[in-house]
Amino acid sequence: MGNNNQQALESLYQSLRAGNMGLYKGYYQEYKNDFIQFARKFTPDTDLIVDAYHDAFIVLYENVLSRQLEEMTSSLKTYVFSIGKYTLLNKLKKRHRTVYTEGVEGMEMPQYGIVEDLERSESADLLRRHIRSLGDACQSLLILFYYKKYSIEAMMHTLGYKNENTVKAYKSRCLKKLKELMQGAQTS
């Protein structure tokens, strides 16, 4: 069982690195209705449940790409459900003035991977504005490289560059432009 899980994770890792979202999307669609049914026992608010499900898949994406789940023995579905439940209960806790948490299973941090707070940080807001002002091509390139962790080859195919060196050169240019914007903001 554990071996099958690891194979599933490895396939997912390889496909994401290659810029292929098909397998990930397949899992997303396969588990969605079951998760909504499962989460209804915590809240009737479907929007909140779907929001937590999105968070769970974002966490899954990041943890697969950063190889944080190599020790995981549970199935992918169990993992997604545990993250989804954890984020849902935390969202409910934040939203309500009163929340009962003692003795509720699932309030503990899931065992595998890293579950970051997915709320936006204000400190990154200015930087994000600079990133947006770079234009779509640079934004996409930086996101693919630093967030989606695409290989240079996958970036070349996705963004339509003629070779890997062009991707590298363009990435350096985007970073340089971004640093200039940051420095400009600091001096003004």
């Binding site: 997303y28 608010d45 190889r67 990154a124 994000r128 967030y147």
Partner: protein
């Protein structure tokens, strides 16, 4: 400061969590230089901002898949057009019937039905005893509820530890009384997280009534129907009656 290409590659591998054993020695050496440390700090902040942008894009992508799925469920196209017309005609007919019934009986609107079927839940936790006024904060909160001082009761409940389902349930009831329906819905929703609490059935009933008060008849019916088909439910009879009245709206 400008890093060498080699140093930049190592830094990228660090940021992408891909550093190999061979990089680590060089990484340690790089970290000794304060100017390199500055560069690493800058790049780490940058990566945090890129991560947030990336998450936002990924979230949008997940949302687009949801929409795609919704659209797929609406197919097939030709049949759908026909079906739209049928539904539109049915909706017009339904509105005409509803309007006619409303003209006949103006009292049977959702708000009136709410008023008719809503009854405050009795204080069974710490009832007021004749000639006694409780000073312990727990009993006092429930007695304020019983006395109809709902805002004061909420203030008193707020001071109590939230590890008791009765406290959460009665706070929700106070919010219903004060017309804070959204807050009440969420307070009741938190009760879902407590296994085997004694207010499950009452909460189902009150949530259905809240939908009624907000005018969401379809949602109200969806919540009333399971009650009206469960003879063991304490609100079974009321639910059957209410359901009949809703059929005539």
């Amino acid at each position: 400061m400008n890093l060498t290409d080699r140093q930049l590659d190592i830094l990228d591998r660090f940021l992408r969590n891909e550093m190999g054993d061979s990089d680590r020695e060089e990484w340690k050496a790089m970290m000794q230089d304060p100017r390199v440390q500055d560069e690493i700090r800058n790049m780490t902040h940058l990566q945090q901002a890129i991560r947030e942008e990336g998450r936002e894009r990924l979230r949008a992508e997940l949302g687009a898949w949801d929409m795609e799925e919704g659209k797929a469920a609406e197919k097939p196209g030709a049949k759908r057009v026909f079906s739209y017309w049928r539904w539109a005609a049915a909706a017009v007919l339904f509105l005409i019937v509803v309007a006619a019934l409303l003209m006949q009986n103006r009292d049977s609107d959702p708000a009136s039905l709410f008023a008719e079927y809503y009854a405050p839940y009795p204080n069974i936790v710490a009832p007021i005893q004749k000639g006694e006024s409780s000073v312990d904060p727990f009993s006092r909160a429930f007695q304020l509820y019983e006395a109809g001082q709902y805002q004061e009761a909420i203030d008193a409940f707020e001071l109590l530890p939230k590890n008791n389902p009765s406290i959460i349930f009665y706070m929700g009831l106070c919010q219903v009384e004060l017309g804070e329906d959204e807050e009440a819905r969420y307070t009741f929703a938190t009760l879902h997280m407590i296994p085997d609490h004694p207010y499950h059935q009452a909460v189902e009933w009150y949530l259905a009534l809240l939908e009624l008060r907000s005018g969401s008849l379809e949602k109200a019916i969806l919540m009333i129907d399971p009650i009206a088909t469960s003879p063991e439910h304490p609100y079974y009879r009321k639910a059957i009656q209410l359901r009949r009245e809703l059929d005539h709206l």
